[in-house]
Symmetry: C2
Subunit: 222 residues, 2 copies
DNA sequence: ACGCATTTGTACTAAACAGTTAAAACAAAC
DNA sequence: GTTTGTTTTAACTGTTTAGTACAAATGCGT
């Protein structure tokens, strides 16, 4: 009777037929790992926890990524890549320099705001003295583009006499990054110390516009 | 013969006479722990490592601070307190508003630059969603002062017609903090991606002045 | 039908780690 | 001189953690 039960059970339980989907599995692991690392930090994240949240197993993580560091490295690379490629949609060539710079700034502000996981990974990487980013060649190329984009706008603004001389595109990029980054990275502590006036919904809309003001005023002529 | 050796050794070893210095011991532990947490993060720091670097023992850490979280909490509080009190030296009342704001900005920029451990602790606290700062009442009071200081300068600037209306002291503080903070917090990754033009010695002097420019231009009239 | 890559699942190991135990000895204040 | 808080050791415990062993089965290109 017992064996019959098992036999029936064996029948009803569909033999788990699985597809081969290495890319899907890798992507799923990376997605879960990104969230977990971003949420708890590199040392804080637990491999068992990551494994449990994937649709696959711990065994597969080690199969594809070797060890925890290898996994983190891939998460880091993928995160940078995804965010940077997401920045390319912007068409600013046809706009007047001031308008182009405002759009770029507000776009960056929103973009960082929409990607807190990226911000947190960069924070974590800075905490770890950039030792993983150091050993990743893949990433460096992607970022010069950001500078070129600004340089194009700035040069045009100089020609038209609406921007002052003496600013460097790098410094302008730094300024935009700093404000957009800090807005996300320090949201928690800043809100705790000074209230959420800048970080509730209305506050963010206003702050974005003020950030764009700050950038424009920084490069403005006169 | 062997026992005689031991007896002689027993004589030569000076009975370790020690002083009671609870405050000194606590301070020493906190100092070491700050460096270790700032360097490796909360989960990354090791109690054994901290203990080894103190002039006392692991036992004493637990004697005074209970557990790792308790130690971190005290480090967090002390770090905020030390940095905030270090900001009070500034005498700006007698200066013209523009000059006062420039001095304040450049001071903050330098001050953060001189206290990378503080910056890193704040980063770590943000990574941990501020859960330790949340439960610390001690800290909140210290920070309103920063806003008042700016408000005084801003109001004076309005009276004299050198600042435009419509800026909030909170937003100005946010702006100064963002630029001064980001300069330290993201130094590593920014340098890796874009070179160290802004972060070598000459670059930092220039950047400080540009940051002050940005703040002044943000509030400037016309 | 062959071979290689992929997938499943569980139990395991070895190290790392936070926190404890125990018994003493000493300091300092009263 | 009694009491209370401080300091010294070094071994120890129990848990958490990254990473592995093992064994088998299926997918899929050729």
């Amino acid at each position: 009777m017992e064996s019959q039960r098992q036999a029936e059970a064996g029948k009803t339980v569909q033999r788990q037929r699985w597809k081969q989907d290495p890319e899907g599995v890798r992507a799923n692991i990376l997605e879960v790992a990104l969230k977990e690392f971003a949420d708890r930090g590199l040392s804080g994240a637990r491999m068992d926890e990551i494994a449990a949240k994937t649709r696959t197993s711990k065994r597969m993580i080690y199969y594809y990524f070797g060890d925890k560091d290898g996994l983190y490295r891939k998460v880091l690379e993928q995160t940078y890549r995804k965010v940077r490629t997401g920045e390319k949609e912007l068409m600013l060539d046809h706009l007047a320099p001031k308008e182009a710079l405002r759009r770029l700034t507000e776009f960056t502000f929103d973009h960082h705001s929409r990607n807190p996981d990226f911000i947190r990974i960069v924070m974590i990487e800075n905490i770890h003295h950039g030792e993983y980013l150091k050993h990743s060649d893949l990433i460096r190329g992607l970022n010069q583009e950001a500078i070129s984009r600004i340089e194009a706008i700035y040069d045009k603004g100089l020609e038209q006499g609406v921007f002052r001389r003496g600013c460097s595109p790098l410094a302008i990029h730094w300024l935009i990054s700093a404000l957009s980054f800090f807005n996300v990275s320090n949201r928690v502590t800043f809100s705790l110390l000074f209230g959420d006036a800048l970080h509730n919904h209305a506050g963010q809309l206003d702050l974005r516009s003020q950030v764009a003001d700050a950038v424009l005023r920084f490069v403005a002529d006169e």
